[in-house]
Amino acid sequence: MGRTLAEKVWDDHVVRRAEGEPDLLFIDLHLLHEVTSPQAFDGLRKSNRAVRRLDLTIATEDHNTPTLDIDKPIADPVSRIQLETLRKNCADFGVRLHPLGDVEQGVVHVVGPQLGLTQPGTTVVCGDSHTSTHGAFGALAFGIGTSQVEHVLATQTLPMARPRTMAITVEGELPDTVTAKDLILAIIAKIGTGGGQGYVLEYRGPAIEKLSMEARMTICNMSIEAGARAGMIAPDATTFDYLKGRDHAPQGEDWDAAVAYWKTLKTDDDAVFDAEVVIDAASLAPFVTWGTNPGQGAPLSANVPDPASYEDPSERNAAEKALEYMGLTAGQPLRDIRVDTVFVGSCTNGRIEDLRAAAAIVEGRSVADGVRMLVVPGSVRVALQAVAEGLDKVFTQAGAEWRHAGCSMCLGMNPDQLAPGERSASTSNRNFEGRQGKGGRTHLVSPQVAAATAVLGHLASPADLSDADATALVEA
């Protein structure tokens, strides 16, 4: 019987298999950041162990880094200690680190791919649940806990139970107005935040094949929001083109050997998935969340749902609690929801294509009165590229704030936070209670919807903007 993409990559990394035990998997790439690594390094020290493979390990600073005044000492002492601890640990153990101020610094899931370290058919782990991002290259990539970080540092392996596989086939073609973010939000709303649990998701079908590498990363990034530890997309010419010539991509004969291997990483025609979901791309529209988990979303044109309409009591209860927290009423059109803050950034939507898309919409327009728009590139490289293209000017001229790279308001560990009761349209991945600041309310959106929302001051799509322009013209 044929095998799926996930099974092929898995099988190629089994160091040891024994009846009744989890497989021992070899890890090709281990990414580190300051939040989930200190206790792991501590553990190594306590047991007198070294990092086994420095050549497969790399660290960056992202969660705590400020996005303003990065040349000044970090004000929050606790954030400072965490960054200093990472620097000390990397120095003590010899790990390559890209600290704040370094040209390769950025959100760990943006950095790996842009260096060309994330490659098809590799196993990638990081003490961070959005490691699923790297699956866009046909890598088996998943988030791990701090104990596992220590385990990988010490052994370059992980004992893992073989996951089940789920195919998410996206048939047809996405309408022009629909982005990868809308697609993944719609998938999560369909299968639920627990729907992918225990599975590796494989996104496939014509609509997926047409996506750029960056759009594929947006999709795989949010696999975890569907409950899955990993999401994958089979590598193809788009993947190879993206990798070719990057700093750490294979070269010469190695490149040829690598491509030959990568081409074998497709799910066989006769392979069987443990579960399958089919989505019709043509039926999709811009999508936003109204609740406090990423599965609580709806098309922008819809109304806030009525909790009473849920059959399942725990879903009904969750919807009631969400509306209360979000300060929304059932039946209210989503388009009427006004925001105070717009955040463009994160490992979901902080790459150059995302910034270009948002810039194209705010260009020549201005951010609505009373709205602050924060644009935070996912990495220093993304920032430099954006500046080279003049996008920073486009944003600042529209009245948005152009910031330094990092996780920023995605989780508000640095000073970029919502105040209690404030509401954001955010291109990040989690709308949990308090995620972006205590009492803050988050609507997850695409960069395009974020930009249109910034201009109009309420949840909106770019199409609403042209309508508004037309009305303004008539009135003028």
Partner: protein
């Protein structure tokens, strides 16, 4: 890691579904660089409410958390497990746990027990009516027992063996040094290196 054979204690009924790790331990606590001292961050936002179940005097000293479905979703932070343990919980019962949280909990010796929602409902009712009621989680027999309730649970043999013996993963893995070196010596040269380039 401390071995876990069986534990008996009073319980906290947490009637909420989809309790994500941001609720268990908010992000600002993640700045700490140690594994202890997280007890005050546990459910921090909810604990501001004096009516929150953890704040009730009769729940002080409880060691068994009986939670709603989809407990531990969201961020992979292991701090969520440490916070529960630092607070004093030895075991968490739910009808469904998020994968990463479950993995983290078992690695740290916090036994997460999956029971049918009906049984969870029965446990909730029991401990809500009688806060002094005790629940026994017996890993040896893979069984949860409380007054009028007996329910078997599943846990894979390997995880159970590690918990029962309090074994740490790294030393177990390092017993396979030969297999790891053999694997390493046959990795293709096109695989990425963080030091090249």
């Amino acid at each position: 890691m401390e071995a876990f054979t069986a534990h008996t204690g009073r319980a906290v009924p947490l009637r909420r579904s989809n309790v994500d790790t941001d609720q268990i331990i908010p992000a600002h606590w993640l700045k700490k660089v140690t594994r202890d001292g997280f007890e005050d961050g546990l459910f921090e936002a909810w604990r501001k409410d004096p009516e929150f179940v953890l704040n009730k005097p009769e729940r002080a000293g409880a060691t068994v958390l009986v939670a709603g479905p989809d407990f531990g979703t969201g961020s992979s932070r292991e701090h969520a497990v440490w916070a529960l343990q630092n607070y004093g919980f030895k075991t968490v019962v739910s009808s469904r746990f998020a994968d990463i949280f479950r993995g983290n909990s078992l690695k740290n010796g916090l036994l997460t027990v999956v029971l049918e929602q009906q049984v969870v409902d029965a446990l909730w009712e029991l401990v809500e009516q009688d806060p002094t009621a005790e629940i026994t989680v017996d890993l040896q027999d893979r069984q949860v027992r409380a007054e009028g309730i007996t329910a078997d649970f599943e846990l894979d043999e390997n995880a159970r063996w590690r918990l029962l013996n309090g074994l740490d993963d790294i030393s177990i893995t390092l017993q396979n040094e030969d297999a790891i070196s053999t694997y390493e010596s046959s990795r293709p040269s096109h695989k990425p290196s963080t030091l090249r380039g």
